[in-house]
Symmetry: C2
Subunit: 280 residues, 2 copies
Amino acid sequence: MKTLVEMIREKDSCVCVGLDPVIENFPKEIRSRDTSVEDQLVRFAQGVIESATPYAVAMKPQIAFFEQYGLAGLQALRRICSIIREAGLYLVMDAKRGDIGSTAAAYAKAFFTPGSDWESDALTVNGYLGSDGVLPFYQAAKARGGGVFVLVKTSNPSSSELQDLLVEGVPVYEKMAALLDRIEPQTASNVLGAVVGATHPEELRRLRALMPERVLLIPGYGAQGGTAEDLRGAFGEDGCRAIVNSSRGIIYSYKKSDLPWREAIREATKEMKEALHAVR
Amino acid sequence: MKTLVEMIREKDSCVCVGLDPVIENFPKEIRSRDTSVEDQLVRFAQGVIESATPYAVAMKPQIAFFEQYGLAGLQALRRICSIIREAGLYLVMDAKRGDIGSTAAAYAKAFFTPGSDWESDALTVNGYLGSDGVLPFYQAAKARGGGVFVLVKTSNPSSSELQDLLVEGVPVYEKMAALLDRIEPQTASNVLGAVVGATHPEELRRLRALMPERVLLIPGYGAQGGTAEDLRGAFGEDGCRAIVNSSRGIIYSYKKSDLPWREAIREATKEMKEALHAVR
């Protein structure tokens, strides 16, 4: 399997498209009382994936938006995972799982076992429990050549409340970055990556300097307010050490466009790829 | 709907039984090649629930152990949620979810919407993202008269790595407890509770003092090493402000017993209830 960095290089793209489905927001041609929730979710995702594939390197389904539809949502997600992988895109499951060792191992099994229902290339993980809660994810990802993105500095407004607290002058989010180094020293082929929000450019620069080798998953671009200019320097020396995620800004781009929905998504992905290219 | 505190008082029990199913550990009469994974999970859970109901007040399915079986596991969990609620037990879904606002709202919908597939009375939540990641869970739980248990000090060995870091002399886990107070001031009918491990009796005492009114969910009893003696004082002034969870120590108790599996589970739950009674 190719690594994410290899895929970024080959596709010359750092664009990650976030899949946060809300049926009320779907184009009219997808919404239909005669179609099951599962099929509506799959048809919309299929359109997004086909439209984004020429310009994106990764897709990031946000599992909460599938869980909200119960079993139907997770049945749809199973089919969507196959479509993403068949399209040759890297699949980051945004699940922010995290628990004590034996439980973390069960989650890792759910997402990293070959042939599992929601088989993914990478998973987002919450490291509040410490290294024994991250290690099982790291080991399972390593075994399959995948990745783990640990939350370091998140993109939301109240991320500062806990993550910015100072421990002898060092913010908690930097302590989290240091925790990753204790689990896996930094090399050019790291399994552990970090989630760092585009909405905090200052912190992003500091964290990039602390983690020169790790791949960053950068959410918060677009609808949440992060711009390409905020990302200058975030891609590492080779320009291939970050993926930038936009969800609503791409998948619902047709709401602010005269183009048919698939074309609007294609254009929005292309524009984002070019905007990032200018600052890589 | 009765609150958890009312249920603890009525049942005179603080026992929470954790449901962490691993099919390889099931009794031989449950494991069968002719039975689907879903049915094996349901039959085992049914036996546990029936056996524990006379002595327990709550059941805590650990969703990771269902997700590891894919859709079959989550189909089983749907049926098990019904069985737990029909048995009159309080259902704490141990999912440790947590995300930015709109995503947290989607998770809350999945677990707190009446009639949803995994409808729960309470949910465990990871607060690393700060208050805007906790608020949607709080609001949804409040609307249905349920609860939210935010991770404060977890039971695992490496919980110290991040949670014990000192911020101007105050450990991060106390800062997390203070964060809860900013979202919901303490009263006798709090929606927000806290997860505090039985494996850290010193920290448990400090956190009890800081959160006299909140219901604590205390994992780590039994197989993880926590004892009843460690819990003296943890139940608050009225003795009804905590539930103590044991998973493996109860559901796999038959492995160390000559009794048939259901009876062993019944006895283990009864013993735990009595052990806790002595220190409440």
